[in-house]
């Protein structure tokens, strides 16, 4: 039941906010976010205590079609639940410096999206996962469409929606294909895993191709990324945070949940192209990030680079890679929120994101520069920041797949430093160019939270890693 509450509560609260009107929408939404956090923590506590009756739920939906309503929370979901639980209130709070028109709709949509994403994380049924995966797309589409900026926002949102939908339909096709080999018909993960593995290697390869196409678009992996920079640029920053922080993690989570256990042989025999694409993506996106002048675009491309590593590490199929992937999702989510919040802060003060027009902010606002610096360091995977734990494990996992692959992927260590430091330098250092208003209390809170999370998770990742390890043992147990 608790599992149900994880996604049902935000959806219900979204309804409440829709009905309450714009008056107190902000505060209500924050309250909902905090409830979400508390629920996530309770779920975590439940998982740790081992009394998992609250954590799974099973109800037949359409039996002959093998569709059921099944939810389960395990260590793998937990990483993502924590991510969403922590980031939800943070992201909502991060939006407090702005007034949005029709605030109740805005925040309602956000909660709706959070609920859908939570649903995807706890689904124990492949079709249900797909449903939540798609549902999450709708609110963010409207958020970007209605509160985004830029002349081409209609075109950009359209491309975003169509592209991701295009990919996910192929995933649906793959899922249906696998489901047809279950007996009795079932979309439950376990049945799907068994059915997937009973397929021949070539079939598995195709199943994987379909699923990967969906996730490659959403993660995004080169060359399926072209929707992403423009979408990030167009979206209101809070939307970008939701996208980069939580939503796109559904795809990498799906890679672990669906692709790996369902088509292990296919990935091993015919999945090399996916790893190659992921790695090429790291280098390519880094190159793109190096030449960007707009800070937000730079962050967008840097995201692609990091997520390329994420995808490659997970696809290596090693435990280090997968656990690292899970942790990196958490870490990248938090860091992305931090980096995009910086966008918001700067944009609200300078009115531009062109880095060549910035500079000297550190002199004007040392605290801001310091906090930003820690987040940047998290992004370049400095040890004792969360970024390091994830990226190291990913590389470690990838190295078991192949040292050459790890070598190329590892170039992100260098290139990441190149573009992130360049950005930091252009924006923060040098002599002061103009006024830069001090951080408001609210901005300070958000940034400090992000920084604390980055550092604490970097120092002590065990609470996330341990349950993930345990569940992964079980998952791999069923696979082998």
């Amino acid at each position: 039941m608790l599992t149900i509450a994880l996604f049902a509560v935000p959806i219900l609260l979204a309804g409440v906010i829709f009905l309450m009107g714009a008056q107190n929408a902000k505060k209500l939404a924050l309250g909902a976010g905090i409830i979400q956090l508390i629920l996530s923590l309770i779920a975590y506590q439940q998982l740790q205590s081992g009394t998992s009756t609250l954590l799974s739920f099973q109800q037949i939906w359409i039996e002959p079609m093998g569709m059921s309503i099944a939810f389960n929370t395990d260590g793998i979901s937990m990483a993502l639940i924590l991510l969403a639980g922590v980031l939800s209130p943070l992201i909502i709070y991060a939006s407090f410096n702005k007034e949005f028109k029709n605030a109740h709709i805005f925040y309602g949509l956000i909660l709706l999206m959070i609920g859908a994403m939570m649903g995807a994380f706890v689904a124990a049924d492949a079709l249900l996962f797909y449903v939540f995966y798609e549902v999450a797309l709708i609110p963010i589409y409207f958020i970007i469409l209605m509160w985004g900026h830029g002349d081409d926002k209609v075109k950009v949102t359209m491309r975003f929606f169509l592209y991701t939908l295009f990919g996910s339909l192929f995933m649906l096709a793959s899922l249906i294909y696998v489901q047809q080999h279950t007996a009795p018909k079932s979309f439950a993960f376990d049945a799907m895993y068994a059915a997937g593995r009973s397929l021949s290697s070539t079939e598995q390869g195709w199943v994987f191709a379909g699923i990967f196409l969906a996730f490659a678009v959403k993660i995004p992996v080169f060359p399926f990324h072209s929707w992403q920079p423009s979408t990030y640029r167009t979206a209101p920053t809070i939307g970008t945070m939701l996208l980069a922080g939580i939503m796109l993690k559904m795809a990498s989570y799906g890679l672990i949940r669906l692709a790996l256990p369902m088509a292990p042989q296919g990935i091993a025999d015919h999945g090399n192209w996916a790893i190659v694409l992921s790695i090429v993506g790291i280098l390519y996106a880094s190159g793109m990030a190096i030449v960007q002048k707009n800070y937000k675009l730079l962050i967008a491309y840097s995201s692609i680079a990091h997520l390329g590593l994420l995808s490659a590490g997970i696809l290596s199929g090693t435990e280090e890679g997968i656990v690292g992937g899970l942790f990196e999702m958490l870490s990248h989510g938090i860091i992305a929120v931090g980096l995009f919040f910086v966008v918001d802060i700067i944009e609200s003060r300078l009115g531009t994101l062109d880095m060549s027009k910035m500079g000297g902010i550190r002199e004007a606002n040392p605290l801001f520069a310091f906090l930003f610096f820690v987040i940047v360091m998290g992004s370049v995977a400095l040890p004792f920041t969360s970024g390091f734990v994830g990226e190291f494990l990913l590389l470690q996992g990838l190295s078991k797949y192949g040292m050459i692959a790890a070598g190329f992927a590892g170039l992100t260590v260098i290139l990441g430093a190149v573009y992130m430091l360049r950005a930091f330098q252009m924006m923060m250092l040098g002599s002061q160019k103009g006024e830069f208003a001090p951080l408001t209390q609210h901005e300070k809170t958000v940034l400090v939270c992000v920084v604390l999370l980055v550092v604490i998770l970097g120092l002590y990742p065990a609470p996330v890693l341990n349950p993930a390890n345990l569940s992964l043992q079980t998952l791999f147990g069923t696979i082998r």
Binding site: W61, M158, L165, I176
Partner: protein
């Protein structure tokens, strides 16, 4: 049998009430009778009886299921078009024609004899030819009526030729006898196959599958929007029910031979409808092409009629019907508020002008686009599952691609609705209308979760 009686007598009753100057009673009587019809369906459920019909009709679950769905759609159609017909001079004629048409639809769901099939199609169509042309002073409506009538008759002729060939190779019109004869024979006579193809083409016209779809955009556009809503839902649903009943039953052997042809027609339909819809600027035509594209999907369900029962089709007709009714009726109101313009721009600012309409429209478009958690998603999902099981991979891929294109043009309308517009007046509709729209929206979501019901019933 009760179902057929109710619908036909209801048509007469409407005319009678008019003569008796009891106009005020007409609307409630229709609604009550339709509800009664639904109740009858409930009573007859599972009985499989055909008394008094001399093997002409069989109200089995297939027939009752489709009858219920079509009746339900008609019920909502009456509610949604109340405002339009309330001021219409030919209200009574229109209502009785629509009910006669429903009568034909009921026949089409239950026929067990090709004579009934033919009569059903004509009873379904002839009132609609009139309804399409019912805006007498409007050249577009005239043109629509004429095109619909003429091409419909042509299709009927082809259908008839097909029936003649089928009769020629077996000597019977009774589908049960036909089926038994085919089973005895163990193979399909060639002449009968040709007949089957021509019958299929007759249906392909009715359901507007390419390349027999050309009438649809023009007719949908020219016809008064409330009538279009009826055409796109009840008529199409009935035609598919009839097609499925024939090709999933008596002509099942032909289906195996023809599956390539049907898949090809489905692919062509999907490509034509979606690509043209992608370049439409007229919202009514856009919905027409969208309707054609759904025919492509439903053909997929026909294709696999041998491996499944009608629940996929029933669910599709219901899900698509609800969404389509909603969107056409909203289009009608929006268009009416802007001097009957039909360009996409009329939807601008709808979210401010009437949020309930905007919400219902968004849901219905998304449902038609196949986005979960709306019933349209499951409908498409069921079809794709079956088509894939039948091994038509190419069709699956085209279906996926066309879904994507579909989302593109549905989103164009949605974008328009959410584009702010200066000085836009509110669109006021009666609270009943609003209530029905909300009800339909709830159904769109509810049917997604209650899809199991369809399973339980069949």
């Amino acid at each position: 049998m009760k179902e057929l009686l109710i619908t036909s007598l209801l048509g007469l009753a409407v005319l009678g009430l008019d003569i008796l100057k009891l106009r005020k009673l007409i609307f409630p009587v229709i609604l009550l009778a339709l509800l009664g019809l639904l109740a009858c369906v409930g009573m007859d459920w599972g009985h499989n009886e055909n008394p008094f019909t001399n093997n002409m009709l069989l109200f089995d679950n297939f027939a009752l299921g489709f009858t219920a769905v079509l009746t339900l759609l008609t019920f909502f159609w009456f509610l949604l078009t109340r405002d339009y017909f309330a001021t219409h001079k030919g209200q009574v004629d229109m209502y009785s024609l629509a009910l006669f048409s429903l009568c034909g639809a009921v026949v089409l769901t239950a026929y067990t004899n090709l004579v009934m099939l033919f009569l059903g199609i004509e009873i379904l169509s002839i009132p609609l030819y009139v309804l399409a042309a019912s805006k007498k002073g409007d050249e577009k409506s005239n043109e629509a009526g004429f095109k619909y009538f003429f091409l419909g008759s042509l299709a009927s002729a082809i259908l008839l030729f097909g029936i003649a060939l089928v009769y020629g190779s077996t000597g019977t019109f009774d589908t049960n006898v036909l089926q038994a004869a085919l089973e005895d024979l163990g193979q399909m006579p060639h002449q009968m196959l040709i007949g089957a193809i021509m019958i299929f083409i007759g249906f392909a016209f009715k359901v507007s599958a390419a390349p027999f779809h050309f009438w649809a955009p023009d007719v949908y556009q020219g016809t008064p929007t409330p009538i279009t809503a009826l055409m796109a839902t009840v008529v199409k649903g009935a035609a598919f029910a009839a097609l499925l009943r024939l090709f999933g039953g008596a002509l099942l052997p032909a289906l195996d031979t023809m599956s390539g042809v049907i898949a090809f027609v489905a692919v062509l339909t999907l490509i034509v409808a979606n690509t043209i819809a992608a370049v439409q600027t007229n919202s009514k035509r856009l919905l027409a092409y969208s309707s054609i594209s759904h025919a492509g999907f439903m053909l997929g369900a026909v294709l696999t009629a041998n491996s499944t029962n009608p629940k996929v089709m029933i669910y599709y007709v219901l899900a698509y019907g609800i969404a389509s009714l909603t969107s056409f009726s909203i289009l009608h109101h929006v268009s009416q508020s802007q001097n009957d313009a039909e360009e996409m721009d009329i939807f601008k600012g709808l979210v401010k002008r009437n949020p309930i309409m905007a919400g219902a429209m968004t849901l219905s478009l998304l449902s038609m686009a196949g986005i979960p958690p709306l019933s349209g998603f499951l409908a498409k999902y069921f079809v794709i599952t079956d088509v894939m099981a039948a091994g038509h991979t190419g069709l699956v891929i085209i279906m996926i691609l066309s879904s994507v294109i579909g989302v593109y043009y549905y989103l164009k309308v949605i974008v328009a609705m959410f584009t702010p517009l200066e000085n836009a007046g509110r669109i006021v509709v009666s609270s009943t209308q609003q209530f029905v729209l909300i009800l339909l929206s709830v159904l769109m979501i509810g049917l997604f979760f209650a899809a199991g019901l369809v399973e339980i019933l069949f």
